[in-house]
């Protein structure tokens, strides 16, 4: 149920009802607490992250400001919003998450939020929840578990704080316990901002294809080893740890590494492949940076050649974890796109007011006005859909998957159109290296394609609607 459900509504503030006639206890507005948290985040970003400086031309070798990332994670808890309090998370809901993601999207935040706090952590959180239920998260029982681990040291053997089955307990149970414990440790460090992680899930086509043995795992006397290649890994160049789903070779025997061909779903189509989710240290893989249409959203190819790995989950939990991450990714894309579009519209309107031609501001021409009005309409619709999707997730509604797709379609289409019009209205200035409009266009196009295009989402949505 909604963690935000009981909070004081309606909210004041800009998104809330202005007059007294609106909704006592109407849950279609963010809570005032959520808006306060958003305002604090907005304030920090306003002071520390000017979107005008994220142009590719001025991005140096340092792709993001590590100190700001620490502030965002340690002080503001942007990566900890959805994590349970038992894990030092904030234990808040998707509405808060969407509001925070919107703030980051508005300023085109360049740090590793999407790769680490959305995709990687989005895969870890379901495991952590399961682990907590099963007692493994009781890493928490011993006081500050994980605090003794150094950064990146996720593969350290369980400490004395970790529960170990004694004596007769089955090896499987211990394995599951170790895996859950590793997931808890990693999740804790990712949500605290201590470790940057990335989820390496995609094949060469950019898709999650669990039936393809793109990466295979085998268990050796030294532990698990992974072989294969993952593509279009977000924030790969910055990541210290990769979460990698892999196909586990039969009988623990050698899997067949499938470097790059991406062809081979293995023969048995009866039951799905045995999958596992693994954690691999960045130092144990080869990362090749891939030029991204949005350089602030970096990409890389990750090649694993018998890379030592820690098991985080095995069996159907693996697919569920990846699906959960992608679903959270879709919501984040929608929230980012709606907010980014709003900012692109602001740039466009500012310019239309100040730029004079034919003796008057170009914003006085109807052709210009209508472009701006169209953008506003599309953006307001997108924001409404994003809110609904977040509420649907908070309430555990069966409509959540439909609403997420709708929000993603509406938001990314609004963002691409608005960012394109923003360039158009700026004339040749808009096409220069220095123009901020190009950064918004790059982000818009990136968001509109990663995890599937709006047309693809539309077909999936039609399926869900039974059409």
């Amino acid at each position: 149920m909604s963690p935000a459900g009981g909070k004081g509504r309606p909210a004041g503030g800009e998104a809330g009802p202005a007059g007294g006639e609106l909704g006592t206890a109407l849950s279609y507005w963010p809570s005032s607490e959520a808006l306060e948290r958003r305002a604090a985040l907005r304030d920090l970003l306003r002071r520390r992250h000017d979107p005008a400086t994220v142009r590719p031309a001025v991005l140096g070798d340092e792709p993001y400001d590590p100190d700001l990332w620490r502030r965002l994670t340690a002080d503001m808890g942007v990566a900890a919003i959805l994590a349970p309090e038992a894990l030092d998370g904030l234990g808040l809901g998707y509405e808060d998450f969407a509001l925070a993601v919107g703030e980051l999207g508005r300023v085109l935040y360049t740090g590793p939020f999407f790769g680490s706090a959305v995709l990687a952590l989005g895969a870890l959180l379901p495991l952590v929840a399961a682990g907590a239920a099963g007692g493994a998260a009781a890493g928490g029982a011993g006081g500050a578990p994980g605090s003794g681990h150094d950064r990146g040291d996720f593969s350290a053997p369980p400490t004395e704080n970790s529960p170990r089955s004694s004596g007769a307990a089955a090896g499987d149970a211990r394995l599951a316990g170790d895996a859950a414990s590793a997931a808890v440790d990693l999740a804790r460090r990712v949500l605290g901002g201590d470790t940057v992680a990335a989820l390496a899930f995609a094949n060469a086509g950019g898709r999650w294809a669990p039936g393809e043995a793109t990466v295979t795992a085998r268990e050796t006397s030294d532990g698990w080893q992974l072989a294969g290649r993952r593509h279009l890994v977000v924030n790969a160049p910055q990541a210290e740890v990769f979460c990698v789903p892999a196909t586990i070779g039969r009988d623990g025997g050698p899997g067949s590494p499938d470097l790059g061909s991406g062809s081979g779903a293995d023969g048995d189509s009866g039951s799905g492949p045995d999958l596992g989710l693994f954690a691999v240290r960045a130092g144990d893989v080869e990362v090749t940076a891939v030029d991204s249409i949005d350089p602030t959203r970096s990409l890389g190819t990750v090649t694993l050649d018998q890379a030592p790995a820690d098991l985080l989950a095995r069996g159907e939990k693996t697919g569920q974890a990846v699906e959960a991450a992608l679903r959270l990714g879709r919501l984040a894309i929608a929230a980012e796109a709606a907010a980014g579009a709003q900012e692109a519209l602001r740039l466009m309107v500012d310019y239309a007011q100040s730029r004079r031609q034919f003796g008057r501001p170009i914003g006085g021409f109807q052709a210009v006005k209508h472009k701006c009005a169209e953008a506003l309409i599309a953006i307001e619709a997108a924001k409404a859909a994003v809110s609904y999707a977040a509420w649907a997730l908070d309430d555990g509604s069966a409509e959540a998957d439909l609403a997420i797709l709708a929000a993603k379609m509406a938001s990314t289409e609004a963002f691409v159109a608005t960012a394109a019009d923003c360039i158009q209205l700026h004339g040749t200035y808009g096409y220069t290296r220095e123009a901020a409009s190009q950064s918004y266009f790059r982000r818009a196009r990136w968001l509109s394609l990663f995890l599937g295009s709006a047309d693809e989402d539309g077909q999936r949505l039609a399926d869900l609607l039974g059409v």
Binding site: A15, G363, K369, E380, E399, L402, M409, G466
Partner: protein, 378 residues
Amino acid sequence: MADARLFAVRRPGESDPRRERVRRWLAEHPAPTGAQLLDAGYLVPHWPAPWGRAAAGEDLQIISDELRRASVPLPSLPLARGYIGPLVLRTGTDWQRDRYLRKLLTGEETWCQLFSEPEAGSDLAALSTRARRDGEEYVVNGTKIWTTHAHLAQFGLLLARTDPAAAQHRGISCFICPMDAAGLTLTPIYDMAGEYKWNLTQLDGVRLGPGHLIGAENEGWHIARAVLANERMSMSSDIGLAWGQGPVYLDLLAAARQRGAAGPLATELRGRVARGYCRELALHVMRTQALGQVSHESRGGVIPEVRRTLSDQHGQQMLELWRELHGPAGVAARPGGGAASGAFADYYFFARALTIGGGTAEIQRNVLAERTLGLPRG
């Protein structure tokens, strides 16, 4: 998933005790009249007493849910609830509120809007109908057009120029005009679908008393703007695809499934059904957020022109999609069968009016650009 569970997130639960009170009343009044609904506070629950119960938020959502579920035919009076009613409530004198509001709300008296003129449509402030002072009274001369259902109305909300020397927007006043006044004549105008919808209304020496003036003299333009904004909100406040009336999105969904059962649906058509869901979802949120607004002024985050434009585009697109789903059979005026299909057929041509009436889509965009985004006029 079941259609009944679409657009249902965060609706108050079925077992919510607040529903019980409404259900009990509906059980006692299975076919309530407008007057009964008004007296119980269910006709305009969001209005202050004595007309409503100042309901807000979930209480309002519950009342609206329960009335819809019980298929209570609310008097179809968008002018009353949506824009003329709020105007009289806010701007009228005590005498005017007592005289007009109750009968307006129950539908005992119906109203029309005497705004547009042959030479003043989108440019409404250019209107030339003149109201000249003659002692205590006003004498009105001029021609109005597109007066919807003037032939059925007892009163009209009239805009006329009281100070021709003042700047365009400043010399206009707003009146309540009895439609049986001497000197007022109607000429029918038929719409594209063949319905007697509008009138050409001629005012030739129509005399109005001081009690017919609403608001202060020469303050009519502010009133007109408020009424138009209320109208825009009102037109998009219900779930029907045609200004709140007619078939709804779930009907379109059913039609698409029915068509899909007969053979594979083109990818492009499926995509349009999905985009329709996106729009419907956004409108659902905006409608719910604006629940309980008596007028546009208390809109709190929902921008009337945004919701209205979105709603009109949506209605037009879904009505066209419904026809295109039928392929070649769509050339028949009433393709397919069933009640929902009939509703689509009834409203099909009306889709063209959605982006014209109450201010054209182009004017809405100007309003948004100038008033919401702050772009320069002109």
